[in-house]
Subunit: 151 residues, 2 copies
DNA sequence: AGATATCCGAGTGAATTAGTGGGATTTGAG
DNA sequence: CTCAAATCCCACTAATTCACTCGGATATCT
């Protein structure tokens, strides 16, 4: 029941990208320096974000990445689902029909997983990238040489 | 971000135990038959539940397990935390003080993990074993030969 | 032309998961 | 007393997932 480094690093990368891509494309190497995440690993993460339609890429020299839509329209849930491949703690709860679970399809614990899942989705969908970027800028102002977070 | 089989099987075992331990101790082998979980694996799970103070054991012949307190006083969260060793998606969010995260201790994503964590705890702590046992009995009555859930 | 980028897939060591198996100990019943 | 039914308590392992790294192809601005 842990969030993987994909989700943790990826959200940081996405905040960084939202923060710096307002006027120019942001390269992976610059995110790598600021966030202390390796270039090769970042490539993987951003590939997933691109496939999910959250960022656009510009190839070639002076290229990089930009958000595919305004930061206010991107939720933490969008980012985390793209990186983790769904945020569902138990697969059963996604099966909507009666056909799930063996036999006649009754499953008491299914109700539990569904409820846990709903609460997670509510939480992550209620936070937008814009809010986090604003927080991040506030923090940086009061602490210019801060190193960021190591997790 | 998946719940392990420990949590999934263990909650089913606990519901089964709560269901059948009202008048006599319940043996691992009887849970094993009803829930289709191997005896050896169940031993591990129930050992954790015992260590967490959720069940008591009675050794020797005709022995078995009983709940350590009324089902209404045991939440899904109690069970899952005992089995999964905490339900915290990111460790950082448990560090309460300012000392977390490198450098000066600012961490924007920390707020995110904290919020996800809180919503999970709220969800699991709001469901009691008693409710689930009641559900389970209702289901069994309307579907006597049901096989239960396979996850 | 060359530097700076993204793009893409394969490979790998470490850690975790999901179990099994063997044997010691305890205790009620016959 | 003895035996069978239980819990208890390890240690072990195969498979999977995680957390990356590496090499090279492709595109594009200067």
């Amino acid at each position: 029941m842990k969030l993987s480094t994909k989700g943790r690093y990826g959200l940081r990368a996405m905040i960084d990208l939202a923060d710096y891509s307002e006027y120019e494309a942001v390269s992976i190497s610059s995110i790598s320096e600021r966030q202390s995440i390796s270039v090769s690993y970042l490539e993987q993460l951003i590939a997933k974000l691109k496939k999910a339609g959250l960022v656009n890429s510009i190839r070639g020299a002076q290229g990089g990445y930009v958000l595919a839509k305004p930061a206010i329209d991107i939720s933490v849930g969008d980012v985390l689902r793209a990186l983790e491949g769904g945020l569902v703690p138990v697969d059963c709860s996604e099966l909507t029909g009666e056909s799930s679970c063996s036999g006649s399809g009754h499953c008491v614990t299914k109700f539990v997983w569904q409820r846990i899942n709903d609460s997670i989705q509510d939480a992550v969908d209620s936070m937008t990238l814009e809010e986090l970027v604003a927080d991040s800028r506030r923090v940086r102002q009061s602490n210019p040489e801060g190193t960021g977070c190591d997790i």
